[in-house]
């Protein structure tokens, strides 16, 4: 056997092992959380707010944190959509294909996409102190919005850029304005936009560092934008640092809840983007 064939086989085996490690790590993480979380799972955990002394092993659940996370993720996704949609429409339908402003915007959001959430959290908190706000639902929504805008813009832009030029030309030749063209394009990529929203939502529901100072923590379900609110990831983090075994077990169960949410969102987002690619003109 020639040396080159031995080398070939050796690296092929290495590659297969690596693929197993990478794919296995996902199943190992989810598996560990399921195995540890399932025994501590209870109906109370999902339907009750914490009672007094919850972190000392008291009764109750994490409903406050589940609702809080949903509020923050939904609020910030909505806010981010309101900002992202015009930006994406502008750089695609209004600007010519190779404009410097479009490229600068894309580059800018690529870079912002990499800025860690702790920086947004620290900045958000500074901004809130400057405005005289206290840690609240609104503060959390603002910080998470900053975090998810780049995700949304980059995802939507990628999708819209796959729209063939002919579609633009067809609408323009029918006498449509750029704004009217934008609506046609948006309808064409609607599933892709849903994917972007879901990705932003998934990021918003799972992030801790951006909300730990800005949203605060509370045992109650927030009733107004000015109330501080608990979030599911932060609740997991707090429960896990407890010295009591009971409370840590609840942390595993809460982690299982979050895992289920996030996996549902990710799978939905993927299915939608698949549907989008089927609709190609």
């Amino acid at each position: 056997m020639k040396a080159k064939n031995i080398e070939e086989g050796f690296f092929k085996i290495l590659m297969i092992i690596s693929a197993f490690v990478v794919v296995g790590s996902f199943f190992l993480i989810v598996g560990t959380i399921v195995v540890k979380g399932a025994p501590a799972m209870s109906w109370d955990l999902i339907t009750k707010v914490p009672s007094g002394g919850f972190f000392l092993g008291g009764e109750g659940g994490v409903l406050n944190a589940i609702i809080g996370s949903f509020y923050i993720a939904a609020g910030s996704s909505l806010l981010a959509l309101l900002i992202s949609l015009p930006v994406v429409i502008y750089i695609n339908a209004y600007l010519p294909k190779r404009s410097w402003l479009g490229n600068l915007t894309r580059m800018g959001y690529d870079v912002l996409f990499g800025i860690p959430s702790i920086v947004y959290g620290a900045f958000g908190f500074t901004l809130m102190m400057y405005l005289g706000m206290r840690a609240s639902l609104l503060g959390g929504i603002i910080a998470v919005t900053l975090l998810v805008i780049p995700i949304m813009i980059r995802t939507m832009d990628e999708v819209i850029r796959t729209v063939p030029n002919e579609l633009y030309e067809a609408t323009f030749s029918l006498g449509a304005t750029r704004l009217e063209t934008a609506w046609v394009i948006l309808r064409q990529v609607a599933p892709g936009i849903m994917t972007a929203i879901l990705l932003a939502f998934g990021r918003g529901i799972g992030d801790v560092a951006s909300v730990m100072f800005t949203a605060g923590f509370s045992d109650n379900i927030p009733t107004s934008l000015n109330d501080p609110t608990a979030t599911l990831p932060l609740a997991i983090f707090n429960q896990l640092s407890s010295p009591y075994e009971d409370v840590r077990a609840k942390a595993y169960a809460s982690a299982l809840i979050l895992t289920i949410f996030v996996l549902i969102i990710s799978v939905l987002a993927r299915l939608l983007s698949k549907r989008f690619s089927k609709n190609k003109v």
């Binding site: 690596s18 794919v23 702790i118 304005t177 560092a209 100072f213 990831p233 993927r270």
Partner: protein, 297 residues
């Protein structure tokens, strides 16, 4: 003027303003962090802050070296683990794997990227910490509680798998197929083709991707906080030492300790440091990646 044209114009102007304003967010963040770090920078020289490891805020000593070293250790371990694995997986997916297998692996990698940091942290505590404590550390005759830079590095490595693999696959797909086929038709084995053609051609993009992954690892906070065990600032001396990276410094102390003078300024300086480093790393690698992409178009 036609009402439709008017609508088009007004919408256009509004969206232009929004686009410009939204880019300004980056400037605003940088300026805000810089402005709040000024009090610290006025009292200490930048080189002192970055080269001293004495961290005693109540005595007015702010040395960031311990935290910077903590960040570097964790990131280095993560890259050392993740880079070869991801490179091999990406080569496998782009050159070897059956399309059906690719259709299974790529979605799994996508799902992995959707898992929030806190869950990586929980998994690290449940799986990696006991593993290091009971199985790995004893072999090296070290007493470790498991909470260490090694644990942080392993968890971070898995967190950057999806980013690295996605970027590598993109870079590989930019290498012209003809070139690879030419090499194969001359009798080179697939691996020789990979080694001599694919990797050589893809090198700039691969370096850019790696830099991007490094900057992702730099800023990761909560998972690292949960498994690194950093409570006392200090420079780690072995992989089994606990570490206290920069983001963890901010997360642990921010918002509580504002009665000590300059403490909040110091923490925002840490945030500024992260922002600047990551911004530069990102900008450079994105520019390279855009160039690589342009070549195929």
């Amino acid at each position: 003027m036609n009402i439709r044209l008017l609508k088009d114009k007004i919408a256009g102007r509004t969206m232009l303003v929004l686009t410009l304003l939204s880019i300004l967010i980056a400037v605003l963040v940088a300026w805000g962090l810089f402005y709040r770090s000024l009090p610290l920078l006025e009292n200490y020289s930048l080189s002192d802050l970055l080269t001293s490891s004495a961290w005693k805020p109540e005595k007015g000593e702010f040395g960031f070296l311990g935290f910077i070293m903590g960040t570097l250790w964790v990131t280095a371990i993560a890259i050392i683990i993740a880079l070869p694995l991801c490179l091999l997986v990406s080569i496998y997916l782009s050159e070897y794997a059956h399309p059906r297998l690719r259709k299974f692996i790529v979605p799994v990698v996508d799902l992995l990227s959707g898992i929030p940091p806190v869950l990586f942290g929980v998994w690290g505590v449940l799986f990696i910490i006991p593993l290091i404590q009971d199985d790995i550390a004893p072999h090296f005759a070290e007493n470790s509680a498991g909470y260490s830079v090694l644990a942080g590095g392993i968890v971070l490595a898995i967190m950057i798998f999806p980013l690295l693999i996605t970027l590598f696959l993109e870079v590989f797909s930019a290498v012209p197929r003809d070139m690879l086929n030419a090499s194969l038709s001359l009798g080179a084995t697939p691996w020789q083709t990979v080694k001599k053609v694919l990797l050589k051609k893809a090198m700039p993009g691969m370096i850019a991707s790696t830099v991007l992954a490094i900057s992702r690892a730099f800023g990761e906070t909560i998972a690292v906080l949960m498994v690194c065990g950093g409570n006392v600032p200090g420079i780690p001396h072995s992989v089994f030492d606990s570490g206290y990276p920069l983001p963890v410094l901010i997360a642990n102390n921010f918002g509580e300790t504002f009665s000590i003078p300059l403490y909040d300024s110091a923490l925002l300086f840490a945030a500024l440091l992260l922002f600047v480093i990551i911004f530069i790393f990102n900008a450079i690698s994105r520019i390279i990646l855009v160039r690589v992409k342009k070549k195929i178009e």
